[in-house]
């Protein structure tokens, strides 16, 4: 049913000056009142203005269908989990510890789980005390809580360019201004970071923190080298800049031991975010933050205000899983599985992608970051891809400044290898067809840009750069 219409009178939103027939008395019907359908349209906060239906979301609704090879979503391959064992564990948990598992808990999180989290983090060189850990609803909630306690409207957050789309969404919902720092094959470029900090300082901009995904970056797929980790820490220490280290993929490296976390070398000026979404299961929504005491206390209070407490059942399930299941071996299973899929995707790209495309070769994680030939716009190309039954995520979503139009993110974590090959084959055809269209119109369109959001800035591409392996 229609909601009660908002009564608007005859306000003219289109700037038309001529009176309506209703006003001149020549109307077929009595003067009608406009309806915006949403009776609350005039009440929303300014920050909700961007929350509108979008073509891209409409296209992703199609991408979820099995007929489409989706290289878009970053869904872990949950089927590889020992689901029978997990199911049995969950049943026993409720039967034996139901009064705790189904009860309220503390906002900081279950103490036994926090001990387990500390054990997990030791693999990345972090020696934290369970008191320093705050459990969150996935690490996504940690991003929200950090924004809540640090960001005033207009504050600047530094982030890699590109950066995780979910973080950008959170930061902008708190009306932060995200300034991107370029990356290359070895991750964030320290000199560019230093230059950016200096520039913002000279402009008296208030920078609240550097947000970084140092290992197996989403979406870029690259990893901050050990040398650069030290350099980034030094630069931020000198600038007295807090670092938010988001590390959901850290244990999913394909070569050698996990990289040492930034937090491990500077626990006083780094907030570390972790997650079980990629190493166990995202459906349980359990992540965490480790932070210096002052920040930790505020995160706990902010979590209490946001959710009162987290799911006790989900926390106990993760705690049980860590205590009684071979989780290290399971992470190895995931690593091998994702390595095979990474190899499949990179080989398929090398075999079929048209000239002019470049992409990263991730050493872990879920994503390949692909640059299209000059002039192509991944967002404008997406409908063609969906028609050809393949999906990806256009690059502009990973930038807060409208750049990235010539990039797209491909994920290899969920589709089986044969589907990855087929998806890449379809994508290559799509890129070929789009290149033809752009060859016809592209050179002319530089001056204008497409109406679907491609401003001239969209066509310039981000700074920094990645090389084809």
């Amino acid at each position: 049913m229609l909601t009660e219409p908002a009564r608007l009178g005859h306000a003219d939103h289109n700037g038309r000056a001529a009176p309506t027939p209703a006003e001149t008395g020549d109307a077929a019907h009595p003067a009608s009142h406009g309806s915006l359908v949403d009776a609350h349209a005039g009440r929303y906060a300014a920050r909700a203005a961007g929350m509108v239906a979008s073509e891209i979301r409409a296209l992703f609704a199609v991408a979820a269908r099995p007929e489409i090879v989706s290289l878009a979503g970053g869904m872990p391959y949950i089927t590889a989990l020992p689901l029978d064992a997990v199911g049995e564990m969950a049943g026993q948990l409720v039967a034996q510890r139901g009064p705790v598992a189904l009860q309220y808990g503390s906002a900081q999180g279950d103490p036994a789980l926090r001990e387990g989290i500390c054990e997990v983090m030791e693999l990345e060189g972090i020696h934290a005390h369970p008191d320093e850990v705050v459990v969150t609803v996935g690490s996504q909630q940690a991003l929200d809580l950090i924004s809540r306690i640090f960001v005033d409207p207009g504050d600047v957050i530094l982030a890699e360019g590109p950066s995780y789309v979910g973080a950008l969404g959170t930061f902008t919902s708190y009306q932060a201004r995200v300034v991107h720092v370029p990356m290359d094959d070895d991750g964030l470029i320290p000199a560019a970071l230093e230059e950016c900090i200096a520039r913002l300082a000279s402009q008296r901009q208030r920078v609240k923190f550097l947000y970084t995904v140092p290992s197996f970056h989403n979406p870029a797929g690259v990893t901050l080298s050990a040398e650069r980790r030290a350099e980034v820490l030094r630069i931020c220490q000198r600038a007295d800049l807090l670092i938010v280290e988001d590390n959901p993929y850290g244990l999913l490296g394909f070569d050698g031991e996990p990289q040492r976390a930034l937090y491990a070398d500077d626990p006083h000026s780094v907030v570390y975010l972790g997650s079980f979404s990629k190493t166990i299961a995202p459906g349980l929504r359990v992540g965490w933050a480790v932070a210096p005491p002052g920040i930790r206390d505020k995160l706990v209070l902010a979590a209490e205000a946001a959710v009162l407490c987290h799911s006790s059942l989900a926390q106990l399930m993760i705690g049980e899983y860590l205590a009684n299941q071979p989780w290290r071996e399971q992470v190895k299973v995931f690593r091998e599985l994702y390595r095979e899929r990474r190899d499949t995707m990179v080989e398929a790209l090398s075999a079929v992608m048209p000239e002019g495309c470049r992409w990263t070769r991730p050493a872990g994680g879920f994503y390949v970051w692909l640059q299209l030939p000059p002039g192509l716009d991944a967002k404008l190309m997406l409908p063609r891809a969906i028609s050809s039954r393949v999906a990806y995520v256009p690059g502009t979503g990973f930038y807060a400044d409208g750049t990235g139009a010539d990039y797209l993110r491909l994920s290899y974590c969920f589709p089986e290898p044969a589907r990855i090959r087929e998806g890449v084959r379809r994508l290559a055809e799509v890129v070929g067809a789009e290149a033809e269209i752009c060859a016809t119109f592209g050179a002319m369109s530089r001056a204008g840009g497409g109406p679907a959001g491609a401003s001239p800035a969209d066509l310039t591409g981000p700074a920094g750069g990645f090389t084809q392996p």
């Binding site: 239906a53 979008s54 679907a452």
Partner: protein, 316 residues
């Protein structure tokens, strides 16, 4: 329960309008259930034909928007299966879904339509895009409206006010299809006129006037409550309202449509211009057909139940 028996609402599909269709279908199913009709939703996928053949419904209401739902494909399959359905037969769907064809048929029936050209992408490649676009701009004059020849929900469509924006609009359009319709963008009042035929001939519903707050009735303006102001009935003069109603009925008849349709028009200086006709109009909360039904004192559920009964009685 209604004596209509079990009916199916088809919603989903694989066009970019899938999400809109799912919302239309859910709303229609709920409206039918509220008045006691035994209605279910089905997607147009590999499960559909087995479901229909195992348990044939009394009638089907296709609420799939975009290709396959509106280009006659689904209707052709339902005809093959011998299942009665609401709406236009396959040929009429094909005519209506192809905007340039629909415009030509509307013109033959005496309706005015905005001046336009229809060209496939190859012609721009073969003859040189710059020369062709320059000629289009000179002949049609700015502002222009570029849209895929087939498709809906304004996907791939854009208003072009400056010649330098035209190539970008063409790239965006050709991502949705291989043929573009480029129209002169008429100033005036944009209205949508629903037509229903419950057995006594096509009848126009009150025109719904569309005023997007951003100035552009794009995808966001169509499907975000609060982004567009609707006036029902449209703020037209008596003569304009009659002309709009008459144009919608004329288009419905000329295109060979059946049961229900929605025709989009521009009313400019007392004259009515045909833009396009839809065989599976949107039924979401921001869609104009349900608003028009409500303004006419009819309920969505009852009208659609009657259309289903009519289809069941008609057979295939």
């Amino acid at each position: 329960m209604s004596d209509l028996g079990h009916v199916l609402v088809l919603a989903g599909g694989l066009s970019p309008e899938r999400e809109v269709s799912l919302r239309s279908g859910a709303r229609l199913r709920d409206a039918l259930c509220e008045i006691g009709v035994d209605a279910d939703i089905a997607d147009a996928d590999a499960d559909l034909i087995p479901a229909i053949t195992t348990d044939p419904p009394s009638a089907i209401f296709p609420a799939i928007h975009g290709a396959s739902g509106e280009d006659g494909s689904i209707q052709e399959v339902l005809t093959l299966l011998g299942v009665p359905y609401v709406g236009a037969p396959p040929d009429a769907c094909r005519f209506a879904f192809d905007k340039p064809v629909a415009k030509a048929i509307a013109r033959s029936a005496g309706l005015a339509t905005p001046p336009s050209v229809t060209l496939p992408r190859e012609i721009f490649h073969d003859l040189g895009a710059a020369a062709v676009l320059d000629r289009i701009t000179v002949t049609l004059s700015l502002p222009l409206f570029v849209k895929p020849a087939r498709g809906g929900s304004a996907l791939g469509a854009s208003r072009v006010g400056r010649a330098e924006d035209l190539p970008g609009a063409m790239i965006s359009c050709f991502a949705y299809g291989d043929t573009a319709l480029i129209e002169h963008c008429m100033p005036g009042t944009e209205v949508a006129v629903g037509v229903i035929d419950l057995g006594s001939g096509p009848e126009a519903l009150p025109a719904v006037e569309i005023r997007p707050l951003s100035g552009s009735y794009d995808y966001a303006a169509r499907y975000t409550p609060g982004q567009t102001e609707f006036h029902v009935p449209a703020r037209l003069s008596r003569a304009e309202a009659q002309a709009a109603a008459s144009a919608a009925v004329t288009a419905h008849r000329a295109l060979g449509l059946r049961d229900l349709s929605r025709t989009d028009l521009i009313v400019c200086g007392g004259e009515v211009f045909f833009l396009e006709a839809n065989v599976a109009p949107g039924l979401t909360e921001t869609s104009t057909l349900p608003m028009a039904l409500e303004a006419a004192g009819r309920s969505l559920g009852t009208v659609c139940r009657d259309l289903l009964s009519q289809a069941a009685a008609r057979g295939t």
